[in-house]
């Protein structure tokens, strides 16, 4: 096996491919966090009074909270006064086409393989690219506008559609929800907003690529996605971040609202800088993602492939309020080197005959620590609720760890809740079997891992599935024990 191990070590040791910094002049405000900073952010963004008040309330609440200690992750404490809470590329002028976008910026996207140009022409994907904190280019907007779909940056939505933002902002993740959600509510800089009107099926996959750029700049994204009655939308979120030595905090909030008979599919491929082999640097990814199946027969699907970040701490959740609503969670979380992930989901069954499915695959390699933490709650009124959960761990190497903390809370006797978990490793016999048939150890590991994750990958949109497999190929094929 020594051969296999060395290949794997080489594999696992591969450095982050997407580490680079673009030289773009950035407008920044002083370090630190206080009411003045929040007022400044709000002023720069020309926000209405109510939003500023909301931010300030969130900030006041945040000050009363303390950072949660319960996650199974260890990291150096973040100094919240040492963060610049807003930075934006200097506004040049209103942009009417991609040609006007800073070529440096476009080149950055090109390096990441997500050239807006390319995508616009070839892939039929509308891209709302967030570079640091402000959206600089939004494509396919006109096409979507024809169907009545609003897809724009959050600040634009605040300007153009304040009534929608005001109606739904904070209804799924209130500012008082948790420490990082409160922080985000106070200082969020930008993000994406999407509204799909009644009965409209969004014809393309909507996608946001956002990157963390300018040094020391925490990014506080806010995404709000509303599918009105009978609407359908599939949303892709993908991230790569440049290599940094200092830890960067990312505390995003994603809110999904599915009204009656609406369907939202939210897919994420996350590949932020995980830090180097010793665990230096890397992104802290503390995200609050939650969807509310507000109306009957609505459905929300979360699919995530988490391969990056030094610390991942997120629980995309579903509140199944409408009768017969469906929540799904498919996840692959990979931790290599010194990465730590504490991720999972919450399924809150409130409506009758609500159903949820959880498939979580954790892969730990190197010194990685992978935790699944989930909650399935069936409230007393959720007659006939049904849940199936499966969480599997794959351990690669003997210095990593896999942990599961599934909470199950059932308060209705008609509910049927099942939870299964297993832990395994890539067997020497499996590798041997492949080798014997002329498949290299590297490919064999790849195959086995992809097989392990297949159930999740097949939930991803096509182009993401390919990217996800490649990502695992690069960052995952840790060691065979």
């Amino acid at each position: 096996m020594s051969d296999a191990i060395s290949t794997i070590e080489e594999f696992a040791g591969r450095e982050y491919q997407y580490g680079f910094t673009s030289e773009i002049e950035a407008v920044t405000i002083p370090r630190g966090l206080n009411e003045e900073i929040i007022r400044t952010i709000s002023a720069i963004k020309q926000e209405p009074e109510w939003l500023l008040e909301w931010r300030l309330k969130a900030f006041q609440h945040w000050q009363t909270m303390s950072e949660p200690q319960w996650p199974n992750v260890h990291y150096e404490k973040v100094d919240y006064q040492d963060i610049i809470y807003y930075s934006a590329p200097k506004p040049k002028k209103q942009l009417s086409s991609l040609d006007e976008v800073d070529p440096e910026l476009l080149a950055t996207f090109e390096k990441l393989g997500i050239s807006l140009d390319e995508q616009k022409r070839l892939t039929n994907v509308a891209v709302d690219a967030v570079f640091d904190s402000v959206s600089v280019a939004t494509t396919f907007k006109d096409k979507l506008a024809e169907m009545g779909i609003i897809f724009c940056s959050f600040s634009e939505a605040v300007r153009e559609h304040p009534e929608l933002v005001r109606e739904y902002l904070g209804t799924v993740v209130p500012y008082s929800d948790n420490y990082f959600a409160a922080l985000n509510s106070a200082v969020f800089s930008d993000g994406s907003f999407c509204y799909v009107p009644k009965g409209v099926r969004c014809p393309m996959e909507l996608s946001t690529y956002f990157r963390i750029n300018a040094k020391d700049t925490g990014q506080f994204e806010r995404t709000l996605l509303i599918a009105d009655e009978g609407a359908y939308v599939s949303y892709l979120e993908g991230c790569t971040a440049p290599m940094r030595d200092e830890n960067q905090l990312h505390a995003a909030v994603v809110e999904l609202v599915a009204l009656r008979e609406a369907t939202i599919k939210y897919s994420t491929v996350q590949n932020w800088y995980p830090g180097d082999k010793e665990g230096r640097g890397g992104i802290y990814n503390f995200v609050t993602k939650r969807g509310k199946c507000d109306g009957d027969n609505s459905k929300i699907t979360w699919t995530q492939v988490e391969t990056g970040s030094a610390i991942t701490w997120k629980y995309p959740s579903c509140i199944l309020k409408g009768d017969n609503s469906v929540g799904e969670f498919y996840s692959v979380a990979l931790t290599n080197h010194k990465q730590q992930a504490d991720t999972g989901t919450k399924m809150i069954h409130i409506g009758k005959n609500t159903r949820s499915t959880i498939v979580a695959k954790g892969i730990s390699a190197g010194n990685g620590q992978n935790t699944y933490r989930g909650l399935v709650r069936v409230n007393p009124g959720a007659e006939g609720a049904r849940n199936y959960s499966q969480c599997d761990s794959l351990l690669i190497g003997d210095r990593c760890g896999a942990h599961t903390f599934p909470y199950i809370d059932v308060q209705n006797p008609t509910a049927q809740v099942e939870h299964e978990a297993s832990t395994s490793k890539i067997g020497e016999d499996q590798i041997f079997y492949c080798n014997q048939r002329g498949i290299s150890t590297e490919d064999a590991v790849n195959m086995i891992v992809n097989g392990f994750c297949k159930e999740v990958f097949r939930e991803l949109p096509m182009e993401f599935a390919v990217e996800a497999q490649k990502l695992l190929g690069v960052s995952l094929e840790g060691s065979v024990g």
Binding site: W70, P380, S393, L395, I396, G397, D398, R399, C400, G401, A402, H403, T404, F405, P406, Y407, I408, D409, V410, Q411, N412, P413, T414, A415, Q416, V417, E418, H419, E420, A421, S422, T423, S424, K425, G481
Partner: protein, 438 residues
Amino acid sequence: MSTSQTQTELAPYLQAWQNFLPDRAGEPAWLGTLRRNAFEQFEQQGIPDRTQEDWRFFPLNALRTTAFARPLPPALPSLQQMLQNHPLANQPGPLLVFCNGTFVPALSRLESMAAGIRVQNISTLLTDSPELLQPWLAQQNERQAGPFAALNTAFMEDGAALVLEKNCRLQQPVTVLFISQTLHQSSFTTPRLLVAAGENSQAALVEVFLSEGEQTAFTCSATEFALAAGAQIDHVRIAQENLQTIHISSTRAELQGNSRFASHNMALGGMLTRNDITVGLRGSGIHATLNGLYLAGGNSVIDNHTAIDHAMPHCESHELYRGILYGRAQGVFNGKIFVQLDAQKTDAKQTNQALLLSKDARLNTKPQLEIFADDVKCTHGATVGQLSRESLFYLRSRGIGEEEARAMLVQAFAADVTGRIPLETVSNYLQQMLPLRF
């Protein structure tokens, strides 16, 4: 935990402690030290509240609001009557009866044992041969065992001890009855069980908690097992106290190489029941089995916490817990499995299944795996549901009334756990104790 609030909560215990200590003057000095350390631990940790993860679902307010007195001496005649026809008091083998914390020799049967086997109550052993107890009593991670294990050690009055020397085997099970007689006042007892099993020894123990009377009682029990290499111990624990009882127990077992340990934890009564079972696998080739059945109706809360620590390679642990909840009962199951870095080739399996039989019953379950070794087989599963409609229909279509059909299905559900107890009298007894209506 030294806020003034905590101090008022602990005041009754402090008072009891000050009265208790002078009575123990005749005890060996090492025991005094253990007690003092334990009480210090208890004082430091205080009565846990719901902000602590391990106590999230367990309402301990009753312990804060009720001042439990130390119990009165036992009243024998009614006790005798109670045990006369009790199936567990009359099964063959040694019997130790404790009432309100005191040993009752008149109702116990301590037959003469073969050499190398000592079955005795702890206070007799302490005067007789304290050197037998000293290496084992309160020697297992007292600090981590929580405030109630410490409370037991501090106030321990009497209990049962089984000390087996190398290669000694007990043919008949040892039955230990702890009875709280709560005829007139609410009281607080600290039953203790200690088992030290030498190499290749073997025994089965049946530990039973009963009550007489309908007053509130607080049973704070602690059980310790130390199994040397190759020892085999079966432990059946039956808690069947009245519906006013608060029962908090801590069971700890340390297992050496190639030993076999099986715990059968049957919780069938009480108002608030909390069982903590911690098993440490300290050698290779160990088999540990943790089975449990919990049955709760009314407003009862039953909380089972188990933790299995796989520290060494080539061990197996199997865990099956089944719960039956009806009325407004709340069940909690938390099963931890740790697989340490060195514990390669571990095979750990954990299952928790619960039946919710009424609208207001509730279950919280949290199977928890923490794995640090890569070459292991670990699975856990949890299911929560109701009686299958098809099965009910099958029975009804054969002329069995609904109530009876439900009872039959529940009996069958329970029998899968009780049937694993290797003592037939005990498993039959348990099946008979299940209610006939849900």
